[in-house]
């Protein structure tokens, strides 16, 4: 299978969908001439022309609103936000408009639009450039939220998102753009709400997505040295969420750790822990623990930033605790 970067995988998804369906078009800051702030739209302007690859003025609220209107007008817009940090300005269009249109209009109108861009910490970009907003969007009924970790998931989920009839918030990761992996050529559709077992094991379940999938896999390697087999489950989409896959694993391991990059209080991990205890209480032999980013705005200084983000060591430590093991 071809080895492709996360960035190229996203590019393939958009290129294939734009070629397949004339209604699909891309708009955002720097997506045309510049090929995207992170070069995700490389070559698309040349291939599809300025009508379908649209450089917009700097106005997140405005061009996300444009996407909502274009979707109402029968197109399938992909709106690229330079990062989700700046898309806070567009929260009103996404939450108050896109998410509610179908329900508000009694099903008369709907809004098949994809809002995509990177989120999360890169390297030393401090508090206004390092935020994880998946939970704030997954909170909203009417939205679907994708959090792909691998190039294959990036492509397969984006193609599904573009064809979806509902508005999709598609979270990418700056530090994952350059990572590589096997990706099928051509058609690849990964259904929403289908978790992937990134690593199987019977001793403890670790739920982790996007960058945290790799932190969890690293932790699993370290645990293996201690004779502990961790099962790493990547939900891939936070809404819809594949609770069944998580419960099935917990039924085997009886222990669970949820890892997320974002802030702890009211984070997605809290909801996941609640759902596990509600549906799988009898399977649990220990409280569910969470490993999260620290409850602070992201600092700039390197050692401080490192201290904020979940590390494999912190995940190992949490797993030991749910296993009642000392180091």
């Amino acid at each position: 299978m071809p080895i492709v970067s996360y960035r190229e995988a996203l590019n393939q998804a958009m290129r294939e969908e734009m070629a397949r369906d004339e209604r699909v078009f891309l708009l955002g800051e720097e997506v045309g001439q510049y090929n995207g702030a992170y070069k995700v739209s490389q070559g698309l302007l040349k291939e599809f022309g300025p009508w379908r690859v649209v450089d917009t003025p700097i106005a997140e609220l405005g061009f996300c609103g444009l996407g909502v209107g274009a979707a109402m007008g029968g197109l399938r817009p992909i709106v690229e936000v330079m990062t989700w940090n700046f898309a806070l300005l567009a929260y009103d269009q996404i939450v108050n408009n896109a998410a509610k249109l179908r329900s508000m209009s009694g099903g008369q109108l709907h809004c098949p639009v994809v809002f995509r861009g990177p989120q999360g910490a890169a390297h030393q970009l401090a508090s206004q450039h390092s935020q994880v907003f998946e939970s704030t969007y997954a909170f909203v009924p009417g939205l679907k939220v994708c959090v792909p970790a691998t190039p294959r998931d990036a492509k397969g989920l984006l193609k599904t998102a573009i064809r979806d009839e509902d508005p999709v918030v598609f979270m990418e990761s700056e530090v994952l753009y350059g990572t590589k992996g096997e990706v099928e050529d051509g058609e690849l559709l990964i259904p929403f709400g289908q978790a992937e077992v990134a690593r199987d094991g019977g001793d403890v379940t670790i739920v982790a997505w996007q960058k945290m999938r790799f932190v969890a896999l690293k932790a699993a390697e370290l645990l293996e040295r201690e004779g502990v087999q961790a099962c790493v489950i990547d939900p891939r989409t936070l809404r819809p969420f594949d609770l069944e896959a998580v419960l099935a694993s917990v039924a085997r391991t009886h222990r669970c750790v949820v890892v997320e990059e974002g802030w702890p209080w009211m984070g997605s991990g809290a909801q996941i822990a609640d759902s596990i205890q509600r549906h799988g209480f009898d399977d649990l032999d220990a409280p569910i623990l969470r490993v999260t980013g620290r409850d602070v705005p992201m600092p700039y200084a390197k050692p401080l930033e490192h201290e904020v983000l979940p590390t494999p060591e912190r995940v190992v430590e949490a797993c030991r605790r749910v296993l009642y093991r000392s180091p």
Partner: protein, 404 residues
């Protein structure tokens, strides 16, 4: 200080870094004279006469539009009464602004989408929304097109290409631009019309929507209903600009300022703006100068911030009286015919109300979960099951929860 440096630079060089001839700041004329450049366009004179060479509204449309204006007014008055009687929860209407609402909608083509603010019920009715259906929305009953999901006066009507009304001020503006962009990509002959109040021009959606439309010459018609008030905030507190139309200049588009109580003028400006947009000449911002004669909505009492003396002069400029004067001037309407129209309109509203109130008063509980997604997720399915079993276990639950 900066000015002095600049002026000495100009004295020495006579031109700026771009090579343009410069006048020292102190001698520069005011950039422009908005009152002169954006005069209030009118077609109807106070005495009802009109220069018919300037009006292209087909004569046979005059009486139907007059009737619609009368209907719109009577509807607003009746609904305000109903709200006071506690029969509906909330109402927001367009008393005094009917010519702006209907003139602009009439100026568009039937295939054009309308992106309303929240006072354009007249335009929805013009586009074929049955009156009884509109009332079902206010009642939130089983006949409500919005399935009881949306607040009163926030109707959507797809068959009439009337988009969903969005409460946050100005959000419909960039959406309309997006729909215009979609039409251009699809090569559809469709020009969206978007309405908003003058208060909305302070919102960032206004700026981003008009800016993009200007830059890309998107076909769209922007209609600013300048009714003088944003709840209690007068238009002078909304902008220091002399007119709203002049804002078009900065976006590189055509601006128009028309008498918003003059149906013929609003129609004319909109018709021409639509034609320009369809011909690829880009968008137009039309400021319709009108007046909000009543409170902002049924939740508002304007007497606490607006003295009656301010409103009185506008009573003489009532858009319905203006059009009536014109119809009389043209010999198209007599007093007795006018009285007959008013009676017929009142009867129509009464009949529609009877029709709407005859429907079951509540939408089915289960419709609660409709339309959250194209297909419900397990969260909605789980909650629906929960609701069903609660109702099955104890019928009182259904009553408590609103059914039965």
């Amino acid at each position: 200080m900066r000015r002095e440096i600049h002026e000495s630079f100009v004295r020495r060089n006579g031109h700026d870094v771009h090579g343009e001839e410069l006048t020292p700041f102190s001698q520069r004329p005011a950039a422009h004279r908005p009152e002169k450049e954006f005069p209030l366009e009118r077609v109807l004179a106070d005495d009802g006469s009109a220069d018919l060479a300037r009006s292209h509204l087909p004569q046979e449309r005059l009486l139907p539009l007059y009737r619609l204006m009368v209907l719109n007014r009577a509807l607003d008055e009746r609904m305000i009464q109903l709200q006071r009687q506690g029969r509906i929860g909330f109402y927001i209407g367009s008393i005094g602004e009917e010519a702006t609402v209907l003139g602009a909608a009439e100026g568009m083509a039937p295939q054009d989408w309308i992106f309303p603010c929240y006072r354009e019920h007249g335009a929805a009715i013009l586009r074929g929304l049955p009156l009884a259906k509109f009332l079902c929305d206010l009642l939130g009953n089983a006949g409500d097109l919005m399935e009881g999901h949306q607040m009163p006066c926030h109707e959507a009507f797809r068959p009439g290409r009337f988009a969903s009304i969005s409460s946050p001020i100005a959000t419909q503006i960039p959406q309309a631009v997006g729909a215009g962009w979609a039409a251009r990509i699809k090569k559809d002959d469709m020009v969206p019309l978007v309405y908003f109040g003058e208060g909305a021009t302070s919102a960032n959606d206004f700026h981003t929507g008009l800016n993009f439309a200007g830059v890309r010459k998107v076909p769209v018609v922007f209609v600013c209903r300048n009714n003088g008030w944003a709840i209690s905030v007068p238009r002078e507190r909304q902008t220091a600009a002399v007119t709203f139309a002049e804002k078009a200049l900065a976006y590189g588009m055509k601006g128009e300022r028309v008498d918003g109580n003059d149906l013929l003028a609003v129609y004319e400006a909109t018709r021409l703006a639509r034609a320009r947009a369809a011909a690829g000449e880009g968008p137009t911002l039309i400021e319709c100068v009108t007046y909000r004669m009543e409170g902002h909505s049924t939740s508002d009492d304007p007497r606490v911030y607006r003295p009656a003396e301010l409103v009185d002069p506008w009573r003489k400029k009532d858009p319905i009286l203006r059009l009536k004067g014109h119809l009389v001037w043209r010999g198209l309407l007599s007093e007795s015919e006018d009285a007959a129209i008013r009676d017929a309109v009142a009867a129509e509203i009464q009949a529609a109300l009877r029709e709407a109130e005859a429907l079951p008063s509540k939408p089915p509980l289960e419709s609660l979960f409709d339309g959250v997604y194209a297909q419900p997720l397990w969260q909605q399915r789980e909650q629906l099951e929960e609701l069903r079993s609660a109702v099955a276990a104890d019928p009182r639950v259904a009553r408590l929860r609103g059914e039965g």
